[in-house]
Amino acid sequence: MLTIQTPEAVMFWFLAPLAVISAIGMLLVKKAVHSALLLAWVMITLAIFYIAQDALFLGIVQIVVYTGAVMMLFLFILMLVGVDASDSLTETIRGLRPIAITAALGFGGLLVSLIGRATLGREAAGLVDANSEGNVQALAKLLFSTYVWPFEVVSALLITAALGAMVLAHHQRSVPRATQREQAIARFRGASLGSAAGLPNPGVFARHNAVDVPALLPDGSAAPNSISATLKARGDMLESTQFELSEVDNTVTEEK
């Protein structure tokens, strides 16, 4: 028989309400990122529960795969969609929401009552036997004997996943990227030799050498092409005249 130790009970009654509240909050909060963070918390709590209930492997996997990788994937997807994007809450099919809520509550209630009837007042059985050699060790034994065939087949599943990710998201280059040699030749054969030495670096000869400040050319004029195109597109280019040498305040004052 499995005896529940008091600290485990304390931990359960401390974490379980938090997990349930976060799970409900995940559904109710407006911002997708908040929802994702709440989900991460639910996952971590579940991992703690698993480990506390002697399912060490499951707990570790929960952390490594779900909290680590799947959660990261969720966040990336949010970023792909845009953090500020919010779903339209209008119903496409009229009256679907009340039907869905009723069905979900009915189904959930049915499930809870059935499982309650089946489990309440009964003891868990078999855990001590299953874990007698250590949780992970026993799992390894099963994985490499009884389930060795499905285990090997899973590798094919992983290949399919990688293949699918590549097919759907990888933009195959139709033209190979220009090598440095080709780029150099193109620069010298270009219209003007002015760019042959490459573009000036941002901030050079200016007081400020952050990347958002255009370089000053020897004649004192600013060189906007020294700024990365991304920064230009973002509108993050500062006016470089304010950093010209003549503008610099040369007086030295003692720091207060």
Binding site: P7, G68, V83, Q137, A140, F151, H170, Q172, A210
Partner: protein, 121 residues
């Protein structure tokens, strides 16, 4: 020892929290606090942070590909874990099975690598 096995964990938690609280507190109390505008300026490298990210903060789909590939190999690692704790008992058979498993998933790696899935351009 018959004491509760959770007590050492609690002690570790207490020490951890205590150290963090102490470090933050002592830095605030003893450190000099002189304001200088240049301290907050982007210096030598970096840019002034902009309030609004490009394209409304949307990431390119390339990140998704990377994350997907990470998950694939992450799950491969999950299968390594039970083998790693018992490889001495599983013996040669376990080694061969694991080699086949890793070799098979490596085919996916070869595909991703050759097709430029790991390049960032």
């Amino acid at each position: 020892m018959s004491a509760n096995p959770y007590i050492p964990i609690l002690v570790i938690f207490a020490i951890g929290f205590g150290f963090a609280a102490f470090s933050v507190g002592i830095a605030a109390v003893t450190g000099p606090a002189r304001y200088n505008r240049a301290k907050l300026e982007a210096y030598e490298c970096g840019i002034e942070p902009s309030p609004q990210a490009l394209q409304g903060g949307r990431f390119p789909v390339k990140y998704f590909l990377t994350a997907m590939l990470f998950i694939v190999f992450d799950i491969e690692i999950v299968f390594l874990y039970p083998w790693a704790v018992t490889f001495d008992k599983l013996g040669l058979f376990g080694l061969v099975e694991m080699a086949i498993f890793i070799g098979t998933v490596f085919v996916a790696y070869a595909y991703v690598w050759r097709r430029g899935g790991l390049e960032w351009d």
